[in-house]
Symmetry: C2
Subunit: 465 residues, 2 copies
C-alpha cells in the first residue's frame, strides 16, 4: 500500500476513538501500514497523546510495542474548521510530519465531522494547499473522506456536492458508507457475478420479493439530540439500506470495481419508487435526553418500494428498520417464486429463500425443499449454508480497516457517488411527503404490531424471521 | 400399508439372506409391517427356519421378540421353478398362510432368481392361479418383482418383456433397480422439481457437463462366474448408471410419481447417443475363480454419451465405473458453465459444481466462488452443503426396505418400465459394437491411467474427484 498521512478532522470525537484509531492500530498490527503519519485535527485544545489515549479502551488486545509505533507518528493540531487561517499551521504540521517520516505527500483527509463542515473544510483544504484538485491517477494523491450523514436532505446534499465539485475531482471524493465495506456486503456482488448459478435467477421471473431488515436492540441512548433531527429514514434507510438494495438490484457492471459498480448502483437508486409505508416511534422516546417533547421523529419504518426497470418490474422490495426492537439483525431475504407443484399431495408450503445475513453472523443460506427421509415424496425444508464469518479461521477485517485500505488503494466502489447520495435522499423526500402514519410501539418488540399486521395483510406478504 | 403375502423365489440365495429378510425384519421392527406372511420358495430342501437363520447375521442389532414375530409367519415350499406341477402345493401353502393370518389375498411375488427363470416363473404363477392379470387398481393385488439383471442383452430383455406382457398388466410388474429407491436418488427429482432455483439452470445453456461415477473398491471376489458373463457395462451401467442419468436428464413429469416419472426417464434413455469410450480390466482378473482364462470382460468403463434432445444438445454426459479401484463412491457431478469474468484480475479458475453424493454419504453440495476474507475482490472456492444422511437424527431406510414399501403401495416410479430396460440395453449394445479398446489397470488405482488421460485430453475434460 502507498505510504500516506492521515489528517483526521474531528479527532476528539466519538468515531475517531471508537473506530478510526482502532482500525489504524489494527492495520499496523497486521503490518499493512508501515510508513505513515497521523495528524489529528479539532477545535479542542488537546495533545496527540490525549487523542490517542481515549482510543485505548477500544483496542483489545493491545500490544504496547504496536501502540508505541502509533504514538511515534501521531500529531495533533488545533483548528477551527471554519477559520481559513488555521489551515496554514496545519499544513506546516503535515509537511513536517511528511518530511520527518519520509512520506511521499499522499494525503487522506478524513472528515469525521458534521455535514455542515464538509464544504468549509473542503474549501479551506484546497485554499491552503493541503489538498489539490488532481487527475484520478496523479501522484501524490489527495483523497477526502466524508462520513455520513451526508447532508440532511436532497437539497443540502446537493449543495455539498456542488461545493466539493468546485474544489476536487469526483474520484478524489470518498463518501463513506461503511456498510459497503462489510465483508459479506462486498461478497453480495462477487457471489452474484462470479457464479453461474445465481444471475440467471436474479430477476422478476424467478424472484418473488426482497426483504431488507435492519433491526437494532439499542434505543437512541445518548444520541437523542442528534437522532431526533434525523430519524430512522435519514439515519439508516437513506444510506445503509438503500445501498444494500442497490447492490442486490444492480445490473452487471463492466468490471466489478470502482466507478463501474457505482454507476450501476446509481441506476437502481434512480429507479426506486415508494409504494407504501408506515412509521413508528417507541414508547418512551419522548423522554430520551435531547429529544424534543412533541417530536414526531420516527424510530421505526416499514416500506414497500419498487425498482422500475425491466429486471425488477413487479417485484416488491420490503424494507424494515427500527430501534429498541426485540433483536439486533441486519439481513437480506430473497424469496424465489413458488414452483408448480408436481406432487400429488404434500406440496411445498414455502418457497425457496436466499438469506444473506450481515449481522450478527455473515452467512449465505439457501432454503430448499428436499425429501423427508424415509417417506415417499414428503418434503422437508432444508438449508444449505455458507458461513463467511466462521469457515475461515482468519479474523474478518472490521469495516473501518477496509475503509482505510480501500481509500489508500483508490478503490471507489466502497464510496458513494454524488448522484447515488442525491437519488437516495430523493427516496426519503418522497416518503416524507407521503405522510405515512406514525404508530407507537413498545420497547423490545417487533415494532407497531397491529399496523405491521395490516401492512402484511394489505400486501399479501409475511416478514421472514 | 396393505397386508400381503411375500412369496420369495430364490429363498435360499444370497439376496434373500443379505437384503430381503433383513429389510422385512426392519419393517416389522418399525411397525410398518404388522399383518403379513412370508413363503420362501427354492429348489433346495430346507425349512423356513433354515432360510431365516441364514439371515440372522445380517441383522444388527437383532431383537428376539421381533425375530419371533417373523418366524411365526414364515413358511417354506420346495419348488422347481420350471415344473408347473410344483406350483399347485405352493398355491395351497400360500392360501393356508393367508387364511391362518387373516390376509386379504394381496401377493408380492418376488423373483430373486436368474433372468432365465423370469418367464417360466411368471407363466407358472398365472397358470396355477397364484397370480392373475388384473387392472391396475384391482383388489386383491398381485405384483411380481424381478431382480436385475433383467436379461443379458436387448433381445433377451425383449423376450422376457413379451412373455410377462402375455400374463400380467405392466402395472403389476416391478423390475427393480434398488438404486432408484436410495434416499438421495429419489431426492434428485424432488429437489429439481420442488424448488424454483434449480430447474431454470437445468439445461444446456447453463450446464457444461454431467459426470456420473460409480467406483468400487471391491474386486469380483467370489462372483467371478456370474460377473464374467456380464462385465461392468451390463452389471452397473445398463441399470444403475443409466437410471441415474435418466433422473438427472428427464423433463418435468406431469406428476412426480409412478408412470409419469417412468415415461420421462424412458424418453431420456431413448435419446442417448454413445460418442466415445474406453474399457479396462484389472490385472489379476483372469486369475479370479470362475473367470474364463482368456476373458475379454471389462471391469472398468469410461464413456462419453449425449442426450439428443433440445434440453441437452451439446452437453456431454461422462460415465465412469470400475471394480478394484482406489475408492468406493457413487456420485453425480453437474458442472455449470463458466461466467464472463467481471474482475480485473484473479478471475475464478473453476466454475460451479453441484455434487450429488449417493455413497458413502448422501449429500448435495453446491460449489461456489466467494470473497476471500479480508482481500478485495480475491476469490475462494466455497461450498454449501446439505447432508441428507446426517442432518436428520433418524436412520435412513435401506434400499430394500423402500423396495418392499413402494411395491406394497403400488408406487411404480421405483421400478423400471419395459421400454426403459430395452432402451438401456440398446445403449450397451451400441457400446459393444463400437469395440472400444480394453486396457489393463493395476488394482487399487483410478483405472487405466494413460488411456484415461488420453480420453480427458481428447474431450477437454477433467474427472472431478
Amino acid at each position: 500500500m502507498d505510504n500516506c498521512t492521515f489528517v483526521i478532522f474531528g479527532a476528539t470525537g466519538d468515531l475517531t476513538k471508537r473506530k478510526l484509531i482502532p482500525a489504524l492500530y489494527q492495520l499496523v498490527a497486521e503490518k499493512k501500514l508501515t510508513n505513515f503519519a497521523i495528524v489529528g485535527v479539532a477545535i479542542d485544545d488537546v495533545t496527540a497523546s490525549d487523542m490517542l489515549n481515549k482510543a485505548r479502551e477500544f483496542i483489545e488486545p493491545l500490544d504496547e510495542a504496536i501502540w508505541k509505533q502509533l504514538e511515534n507518528v501521531t500529531y495533533f493540531q488545533r483548528v477551527d474548521f471554519l477559520n481559513e487561517q488555521d489551515y496554514v499551521p496545519l499544513r506546516k504540521r503535515v509537511e513536517e510530519a511528511e518530511k520527518k517520516h519520509k512520506l511521499s505527500g499522499n494525503r487522506m483527509l478524513y472528515c469525521a465531522a458534521a455535514a455542515q463542515f464538509f464544504c468549509p473544510i473542503t474549501t479551506n483544504l484546497v485554499a491552503s494547499g493541503l489538498a489539490k484538485k488532481t487527475a484520478p491517477d496523479a501522484k501524490p494523491w489527495y483523497r477526502v473522506v466524508y462520513e455520513k450523514p451526508f447532508g440532511h436532505d436532497r437539497t443540502s446534499a446537493h449543495e455539498i456536492n456542488e461545493c466539493i465539485a468546485r474544489h476536487l475531482h469526483e474520484n478524489q471524493v470518498y463518501r463513506i458508507d461503511h456498510y459497503l465495506t462489510k465483508e459479506v456486503v462486498s461478497n453480495i456482488a462477487l457471489i452474484r457475478f462470479t457464479n453461474c448459478v445465481f444471475e440467471p435467477l436474479w430477476n422478476n421471473r424467478y424472484i418473488d420479493q426482497v426483504q431488507i431488515i435492519l433491526s437494532e436492540k439499542v434505543c437512541v441512548g445518548d444520541r437523542g439530540y442528534y437522532y431526533d433531527k434525523y430519524g430512522a429514514l435519514a439515519d439508516v434507510v437513506q444510506n445503509h439500506m438503500l445501498e444494500l438494495l442497490a447492490l442486490v438490484g444492480m445490473e452487471a457492471p463492466e468490471l466489478l470495481k470502482g466507478d463501474y459498480v457505482r454507476e450501476q448502483r446509481a441506476k437502481v437508486l434512480q429507479k426506486i419508487e415508494v409504494v407504501d409505508g408506515l412509521l413508528g416511534q417507541y414508547e418512551g422516546y419522548l423522554q430520551e435526553p435531547g429529544v424534543a417533547p412533541q417530536s414526531k421523529t420516527e424510530t421505526f419504518a416499514a416500506l414497500m418500494l419498487r425498482v422500475n426497470n425491466p429486471r425488477w418490474a413487479g417485484v416488491p422490495f420490503y424494507l424494515k428498520t427500527g430501534k429498541c426492537l426485540d433483536k439486533k439483525e441486519i439481513v437480506i431475504h430473497i424469496k424465489f417464486k413458488q414452483v408448480d407443484c408436481l406432487l400429488a399431495k404434500n406440496c411445498p408450503s414455502d418457497s425457496n429463500w436466499l438469506t444473506i445475513k450481515v449481522t450478527p453472523d455473515a452467512t449465505f443460506t439457501l432454503n430448499l425443499n428436499a425429501k423427508k427421509p424415509g417417506y415417499t415424496n414428503e418434503l422437508v425444508q432444508m438449508s444449505m449454508e455458507y458461513c463467511h464469518s466462521c469457515i475461515f479461521g482468519q479474523r474478518s477485517a472490521e469495516a473501518y480497516e477496509i475503509v482505510f485500505e480501500e481509500v489508500i488503494r483508490g478503490e471507489l466502489a466502497a464510496a458513494v457517488r454524488f448522484d447515488e447520495i442525491e437519488y437516495a435522499w430523493k427516496v426519503i423526500e418522497t416518503i416524507r411527503k407521503d405522510h405515512f402514519s406514525l404508530y407507537p410501539y413498545k420497547q423490545g418488540t417487533v415494532g407497531p404490531t397491529e399496523a405491521l399486521q395490516e401492512f402484511s395483510r394489505k400486501h399479501g406478504m409475511r416478514w421472514r424471521s
